[in-house]
Amino acid sequence: MVYALCFVLFVIGLYCALTKKNIVKIVIGLTIMEYAVNLFLVLLGYRKDGVAPIVEEGAGPLEFLARSVDPLPQALVVTSIVIGLGVTTLAIALCVRLYEKYGTFDISEIRRLKG
C-alpha cells in the first residue's frame, strides 16, 4: 500500500514532465519523479521497529544486526539525491538561458527546430 502511494507520486511527476507546456514545470516534474524513486528505495529498506544504521557505543552487534534498517539503499539514495541536484541545476541553467533567448518559458513558442 505504501509502495503504491509512492508510485502515485512517481506517476504524477511523469505526467507533469510529459504534458506541461512550461519548461520550469517540466523541471519540477522531473524533480518529483526523482523524489519518488528515492523514497521508494528507502521504503524498501525499512524494518518494522528498526533503528538507524549507526552503531552506538556499547551496543551488542547481533542485536544491531537484527534491528537495524537496511543501510545500502540509504547510501544509494545519498548518491542519487546528489545526482538529481546536478541534473536539476543544469536544467535550471538551461531554462534561464532559454528565457534569455526566447523571452518565455512556454515550450510551444520555443520551437525553432522542425520535428
Partner: protein, 505 residues
C-alpha cells in the same frame, strides 16, 4: 601489471577533466595537450588490455560487497571502440573548436563523457552502471548546448528532459531488482534470479530498463530528441554522440542487462526485433527528405541502430526459443559487428560534415555544390563513409549487413532479410543525394574561396577512412576468433555470465 592498468581507464580521463580547469585558464594550449594525451593514453591502455579477461574488485572488497569491474569480450571490444573514436574526435577538435570560446570547458566535459562511457562499459554493478550513465549523460547535455544559440539550447533541453526520464526509469528498475533480490552485483543478481521464482516485479523492471535504455539509444518510439540534439552539438561531439554514446549507454547497457543479468526470453527477443525493425524503417524514411546534412546523418543513426538491435534481438530470440544455435550466433555477430562499423563510419560522416561546415560555414546541402575540386580529401573520405553506410562491398558496412541478412535467412525469417535489403537500398539513395549535392554540380559564387580543412582535422578523417576500408578484414578467420567471437560469446552465454564471472574471480 595488467591489473594496475585497469583503474587508469577511468582515472586518467577523470584526472584530466579535473586538472584542465586548474591549469589551462592561463596557458590555453595546455587544454589541447592534456585532452589529446589523455585520450591517446586511454586508447593505448584499452588496446593493451584487449586480451585480458578478468574481474577487478575496487577497494579490495570481494564480489557482491564492493563494486567490481568485469572485463569480458564485449566490454573489451566496446572499450577499444570508445577510446578510438574519442581519440580521433579530440584530434579533430583541437582545431575545429577554435570556433568556440571556453575551449578548456569543452575538453573537460569531453573527458568526463569518455570516463562515464568507460565506466558504464566496464562495470559489473547495477548502481555503478547508473552513476556512470549519468556522468556521461550530464556531460553530453552540456556539450549539446555548447554553442549557446537558440537551436542548441532548445535541443539540449529536449534531450535533457527525455534522457532524465530515461535515467529515472533505469534507477527505478534497479530499485525493483534490489527489492526482489537484495543484491546490486550483476553476477549475484543473475544467480538469484535463476534460482528464485520469476515474479511480476522482474517484468516491470524489464519494461523500465527497456524504456530507459531505449531512450538513451533513441530507438524508435523514444527517438524524438536525437534528430535535434545530434546536429546541434559541435561536430566532434556529434561524432561522439552518434558514434559511441548511444551505443555505450543505450545498446550495450540494454543488451547486457537483458541477456546477462535477467536472461533473455522469446518475448524480450521479439520486442527487440520489433523495435529494431521499426527504428530501421522509420529512421531511413525520415532521413530521405532532409536537406540539412547533419540532420540527415542523425536520422540515419536511428535507422542504423535499428540494424544493431534487430541483429542482437534476432539472435536472442532464436537462442531463447531453442532454434538453430549457429543462426543465433551469426545474428549476434552481425549486430555487434555492425555496431563497431557504424561507430567508425558515422563518426567519420559527422567529422566530414564538421569539416565542410568549418570551411564553407553552412550545413544545407542545397547551398553547397562543386566542392569536389576545392576539398578533395574531404570528398574522398566522405565517399568512402557513404559507401560504407549504404552497404556497398568492399567497405565494412556491407559485411555486417550481409551477416545480418544471412542470419535472418538461416533462422527462417526471410521477410526480415527482405526488409533489411530494402532499407539498405533507401540508405544508398539518400547518400547518393548527399554526394551529388555537396561535391558535384557547380560551385556557388559564395564558396569560391573555400580551402581544404587544416592538417590535424584531415589526419582524423584519413584515420577513420582507413578503418572503414579495412574493417572487413576482421571477418577473416584468425582475426574473427580473436576480436569478434569473444564479444558474441559474452552475450550468447546468457545467464551463464554469473558462472563465467565467478570463475574469473
Amino acid at each position: 601489471m595488467n591489473t594496475l592498468l585497469i583503474p587508469l581507464l577511468v582515472a586518467i580521463p577523470l584526472g584530466g577533466a579535473f586538472f584542465i580547469p586548474l591549469v589551462s585558464r592561463k596557458v590555453r594550449v595546455l587544454a589541447d595537450i592534456i585532452g589529446n594525451l589523455a585520450t591517446l593514453s586511454v586508447l593505448v591502455i584499452a588496446v593493451l588490455l584487449f586480451q585480458v579477461r578478468t574481474v577487478y574488485s575496487i577497494g579490495g572488497w570481494n564480489a557482491s560487497v564492493g563494486i567490481t569491474w568485469v572485463l569480458d569480450g564485449f566490454s573489451n571490444l566496446m572499450l577499444v571502440i570508445i577510446c578510438l573514436i574519442s581519440f580521433v574526435a579530440t584530434l579533430f577538435s583541437s582545431q575545429y573548436m577554435e570556433r568556440y570560446t571556453a575551449k578548456y570547458k569543452f575538453y573537460s566535459l569531453f573527458l568526463l563523457m569518455v570516463a562515464g562511457m568507460n565506466g558504464v562499459v566496464m562495470t559489473g554493478d547495477m548502481f555503478n552502471l547508473f552513476v556512470f550513465l549519468e556522468i556521461a549523460s550530464v556531460a553530453s547535455y552540456a556539450l549539446v548546448a555548447f554553442g549557446g544559440n537558440h537551436e542548441e539550447l532548445e535541443a539540449a533541453f529536449k534531450y535533457l528532459v527525455l534522457a532524465s526520464i530515461g535515467s529515472t526509469l533505469v534507477l527505478f528498475g534497479i530499485a525493483f531488482i534490489y527489492g526482489a533480490t537484495g543484491y546490486l552485483n550483476m553476477a549475484s543478481i543473475s544467480q538469484a534470479i535463476r534460482t528464485g521464482p520469476r515474479t511480476p516485479i522482474l517484468t516491470l523492471a524489464v519494461v523500465f530498463f527497456t524504456v530507459g535504455f531505449g531512450i538513451k539509444a533513441a530507438l524508435v518510439p523514444f527517438h524524438p530528441w536525437l534528430p535535434d540534439a545530434h546536429p546541434s552539438a559541435p561536430a566532434p561531439i556529434s561524432a561522439m554522440l552518434s558514434g559511441v554514446l548511444i551505443k555505450a549507454l543505450g545498446i550495450y547497457a540494454l543488451t547486457r542487462v537483458l541477456f546477462n543479468v535477467i536472461g533473455i526470453t522469446p518475448i524480450y527477443g521479439a520486442v527487440l526485433i520489433t523495435i529494431g525493425a521499426l527504428s530501421m524503417v522509420v529512421g531511413v524514411f525520415l532521413a530521405v527528405g532532409q536537406w540539412d546534412f547533419k540532420r540527415l546523418l542523425a536520422y540515419h543513426s536511428i535507422s542504423q541502430m535499428g540494424y544493431v538491435v534487430l541483429g542482437i534481438g534476432l539472435g536472442g530470440y532464436i537462442l531463447a526459443s531453442g532454434g538453430k544455435q549457429s543462426a543465433a550466433m551469426l545474428a549476434i555477430l552481425g549486430g555487434i559487428f555492425h555496431l563497431a562499423n557504424h561507430s567508425v563510419f558515422k563518426s567519420l560522416l559527422f567529422l566530414v560534415s564538421g569539416s565542410i561546415e568549418y570551411s564553407t560555414g553552412t550545413r544545407q546541402l542545397k547551398e553547397m555544390g562543386g566542392l569536389l575540386e576545392k576539398m578533395p580529401l574531404t570528398r574522398a573520405t566522405c565517399t568512402i563513409a557513404s559507401l560504407s553506410i549504404a552497404g556497398v562491398p568492399p567497405f565494412n558496412g556491407f559485411w555486417s549487413k550481409l551477416i545480418i541478412i544471412m542470419a535472418a535467412f538461416q533462422g527462417g525469417y526471410p521477410w526480415l532479410a527482405a526488409l533489411t535489403i530494402l532499407v539498405s537500398f533507401v540508405t544508398l539513395l539518400s547518400f547518393i543525394k548527399v554526394l551529388r549535392y555537396a561535391f558535384l554540380g557547380h560551385l556557388p559564387e559564395s564558396l569560391k574561396a573555400v580551402r581544404e580543412s587544416p592538417a590535424l582535422m584531415s589526419i582524423a578523417l584519413v584515420v577513420l577512412a582507413i578503418f572503414c576500408t579495412c574493417m572487413g578484414l576482421l571477418l577473416i578467420p584468425g582475426a574473427r576468433e580473436m576480436i569478434l567471437d569473444p564479444a558474441v560469446g559474452a552475450l550468447a552465454n546468457g545467464v551463464g555470465y554469473a558462472q563465467a564471472v565467478l570463475a574469473l574471480r
